[in-house]
Symmetry: C2
Subunit: 624 residues, 2 copies
């Protein structure tokens, strides 16, 4: 009889949800061409245009009212300059590290262990925050359009998170195919929105929107006269806008997933990402300055402008704009779902995270990493009620830490390798490191009390954990190491056969014990109820079994404790003495039948597992 006939119900459910297993050989075919790679690796960067202007205004409107709009373009310009520096800087990383040059690897190769762990921890934290922020922003896009869903943000966000998680557990390529359409649709819709809006404004068919005083009052807290924008507020608003730069790292991490020539294709995709991100970000800023939408708790700035530009909220183009915004924000989460598990697997392979994270699941994805990310992001979404403005201050600290370490590492790299034009390249990466380092300081300074303190604590804690994990694996490896040439030899031990009654299971367990070469075999019974002891002794004598039977009293009707005490007595004075416990176990055909039988054997096995020098033998007796 083949054991394969038994297919557990949870396996069937998993197949239905995630698809059949994929063979390791199939890994090569999962490579992506540029047009498909762009949505997968760049949706993060591009999607931040869906909330970038919103979070800048979220900082400025409370201090400057409608005058906040005057600062949107300058801030967007600075963000764009940083973006340009990053794109140029990261192109070099892609060519220097064709097998995947994330911040972690570049830091490890050039700066050493601690900086690399800081970079790794920073990125893991920011990938998690990117999932939470993107899903929250996607939820806001949906509730902007569908009024009936307002007030149900958290369940809606969790629903989207589950959707993205399942898609990723099914595997990368299927996600890419599934998600290409909405990214290109979003890019198209944003271009249409900006172009139609600006043209209609220029032709006089569209006028600046009237101020929504009720909403404005909500954000300005009823202050009649607002002061100007302080340098601090300006920097804080810039820090919020800088979250739009997350995602640039993603491509350099994912180079091996591009079709050959991998580096060139990745570099081109990075360039396109920069252009699309910059263009849309700047276009939205210009449109906002002209159209003057009021920040609102009811809908996003993008939704307000979309309704105005396309005439009304019932125009199908408005619906498509909101739908594609929500969709691309889910894809932004998807980018992190591609990168978090990959980075975890690299760190795990280096021994700083659990080995399980380094293993591909049966759909060729790092399932454990995907699940870990999903759980962490879910906790954030619930804790912050899926509110983008509350989540954003936690964001970007890790990102710019990783950027800075990565670019600094590239400078060291160039000095070490001395490739052609290495001085020029070092200057480029040095400029990148300086720029991102400055942004990091600005973020920490301007947002520390409003949330940036959280990653400032979590990242060092993660680094400490990495180090402890590494030590643990090293300890285990030392303890497990075998001296060269060491031989095996028979392992004499005392065998205890657990006896509940005289039955087939007991006979088989005794047979097994006799096939060992033990010092001695003892049968042990625990008398749980009055009369049990006599019953077993009588049956034992009647069967004329030639193994001595020991009956243990159990005043508290517990099976495990008397056995442990008995074993302690046996080994007292014999350190290192090996005890083999043979447990007959009844296995019945159907799950409900198993319920009808005691699980004390399982409890005993679990407890003995933690006892040193104790070998447990399970002798199953199958009853159909």
């Amino acid at each position: 009889m083949s054991a394969d006939r038994v297919v557990p119900a949870h396996t069937l459910f998993k197949r239905l949800l995630l698809g059949r297993p994929l063979a390791t050989d199939a890994a090569g075919t999962q490579r992506l061409r540029k047009l498909v790679a762009l949505p997968v690796f760049s949706s993060d960067a591009i999607s931040s245009t869906g909330y970038g202007t919103e979070v800048i205004l979220g900082v400025l409107v409370p201090v400057a009212g409608m005058a906040a709009l005057n600062y949107v373009v300058p801030i967007s310009l600075i963000v764009m300059v940083v973006l340009a520096i990053l794109v140029i800087s990261y192109r070099q990383t892609i060519f220097a590290y064709p097998s995947g040059g994330g911040s972690y690897i570049v830091s490890r190769e050039n700066l050493g262990q601690t900086p690399s762990l800081v970079a790794g921890a920073s990125l893991l934290v920011d990938y998690t925050l990117n999932v939470a922020v993107s899903i929250a922003a996607g939820t806001a896009a949906i509730t902007s359009a569908i009024v009936a869903l307002r007030g149900h943000e958290v369940p809606l966000a969790i629903g989207l998170l589950v959707l993205v998680t399942v898609a990723n557990l099914r595997g990368l390529r299927e996600s890419a195919t599934l998600f290409s359409v909405p990214v290109y649709l979003y890019v198209t819709m944003m271009m249409v929105l900006i172009a139609v809006g600006l043209i209609r404004l220029a032709l006089g068919g569209l006028h600046p929107l009237p101020v929504d005083h009720a909403q404005l009052l909500h954000f300005t807290d009823g202050q009649a006269v607002l002061g100007g924008v302080t340098v601090f507020a300006f920097l804080k608003a810039f820090s919020s806008g800088a979250v739009a730069l997350s995602g640039v790292e993603a491509i350099s991490n994912g180079v091996p997933n591009f079709r050959p020539p991998e580096t060139r294709n990745a570099a081109t995709t990075l360039m396109w990402t920069g252009l699309l991100l910059g263009g849309i970000f700047f276009g939205v800023a210009i449109l906002a300055v002209q159209l003057k939408p009021t920040l609102s708790t009811e809908q996003t700035i993008l939704s307000t402008m979309g309704a105005a530009v396309f005439g009304s909220r019932s125009n199908p183009l408005y619906g498509i704009l909101q739908a594609s915004t929500a969709a691309i924000l889910c894809l932004s989460a998807n980018t992190s779902f591609a990168d978090f598990p990959r980075l975890s697997s690299i760190i795990a392979r280096d021994g700083f995270m659990p080995h399980q994270l380094a293993r591909r699941g049966d759909r060729l994805v790092f399932s454990n990493g995907i699940i870990a990310l999903s759980v962490a992001a879910g906790v954030l979404l619930v804790a912050f009620s899926a509110n983008v403005n509350d989540l954003v201050p936690l964001f970007a600290v890790g990102l710019f830490t990783a950027f800075t370490l990565s670019q600094t590492g590239m400078v060291v790299h160039h000095r070490r390798i001395r490739e052609p034009h290495w001085r020029r390249n070092a200057v480029i990466n040095g400029a990148g490191a300086t720029a991102t380092g400055l942004v990091l300081v600005v973020i920490l300074f301007s947002k520390f009390t409003s949330g940036a303190w959280v990653p400032t604590i979590v990242i060092p804690l993660l680094v400490l954990t990495f180090v402890r994990v590494k030590h643990h694996y090293a300890d285990v490896a030392r303890a497990e190491a075998v001296a060269p040439g060491q031989k095996t030899s028979p392992l004499p031990s005392t065998i205890l056969v657990m006896v509940g009654a005289v039955n087939v299971g007991t006979m088989r367990a005794l047979s097994f014990a006799k096939s060992l070469r033990p010092d001695r075999v003892l049968a042990v019974n625990v008398a749980l109820e009055d009369g049990d002891a006599d019953r077993v002794r009588a049956a034992w004598a009647e069967q004329k079994l030639d193994v001595p039977l020991e009956v243990l009293e159990s005043p508290y009707r517990d099976l495990t404790a008397p056995i442990l005490t008995y074993i302690d007595g046996l080994v007292a004075g014999h350190p290192g003495m090996v005890i083999t416990v043979v447990i007959p176990e009844l296995v019945v055909g159907r799950w409900w039948e198993q319920i009808l039988h005691s699980h004390s054997a399982f409890a005993l096995k679990t407890r003995l597992h933690y006892r040193p020098d104790t070998i447990v033998v399970s002798v199953p007796i199958h009853v159909e």
Copy 2:
């Protein structure tokens, strides 16, 4: 080193919640004297006075309006006649079955297996319903007094249920001590309520309450003119009142828990129970007829009358009345918590329910039965929103089925034993059987569509399950039986040693395998990642191990499936061939460290457990 040092956290929590284990020898000291036994075994019966009048009016007010009050006394009188018959009838059972003569045992001894199973199933269903109804009524007593809690009935009810469950898991005697005060307080308060109410009414200090037309309209559905009470409605109202008789069975089931002389003490307690129940039930009916409270969705009839009799809702006596009503209703649930597990254990010992229900937990109570009852009652409370009037129609079918079977069994008993005065006794029990049988017919007839159909389906299903369980145990016993004189002999088998790498665990597993007398020993490695196979083969050769190594390919990176396939190949053509699988397992000191290691060994063990003729040996390697 003693393994006892390791005390799992859940064990500590259990100790804190439930107290230290009690030795089996302590069982004798848990006997109860009459004054303590009365609250434990009779709170069920007495507490039904807390909702009896309410559920009668709940049936009649919708058809008769305020005229419903005219029928309360006649219906209460009939209930009392049935009560008197039952008390006299059950006294005989107590004396005939001093070791506990519940309906199940009496039916088993006198009527045979099927009737006894019907009786057992009926009682289990009714104990569960009693818990649900009592907790729901207790909740109503609380929300009547504390307006702020209205609308939170379900969580409140679940909270009370958990409280009663934990008290019972701690053990019977502690419950009795804890619960005596409220029962006697309730009895006192009800006597005070009835006496003060009737005296004030007689002296003219209290007048009949004005009709609350809004509430009345709610129940009469706006019908201006109400018809008279039909026979059907009258019977239905009586069926509701008859639930008050649950609990009479409890004492006869619990005779062994009384102090010696058990039978006399139990009989006396039964008599007192009958007198208290009858007296209070009738007193409340009389008071209601005089005071004319309007049935209300906001508070119970008892709460309305208490506020009127004691002057106001802020009178402390009103508060004590409501508190003691809530408390005794929780104790009524407690009665079922004493009897359900005891009855389950008896049925389980007969082989019709899982053996685990027959085993006492470490606090000398049948913990599994307590937990099963609590879960079932919790499901009912949630499903019926803790609403007494919705739960009542499900109730009493089981109770009167059990009563009838029990009394019929007693008639057979007398005819069989022919003790002195057996003819007179048989007539008494015959009258009891006839009366309760009639009530059963009335209940089924008048309440079938409003809920009585549920137990009519559940009870036969339970009986069928009992029979299947019994058959299963019989099958297992046959399969496990050993021929007299059968001997044990060494069990030759092929040994597979699972190898992940060459380490201490592997060496120890090989040593163990060599200490067996196998046909052959094979080392097996599953190559999960590229390069694994070569690495292990090289290490194997370098260590010069004298056991052949088999490396299995795993295209889907799964450990279990290739091993199962390999074993299938080994045993093909050798039916009954025994395979012993030796699995080295790393055990680390702290739980978080265990997370860092693969659980594939556990998954493999679980899967092999279900494979016939496969013995699993777990060789743990402890790393501190």
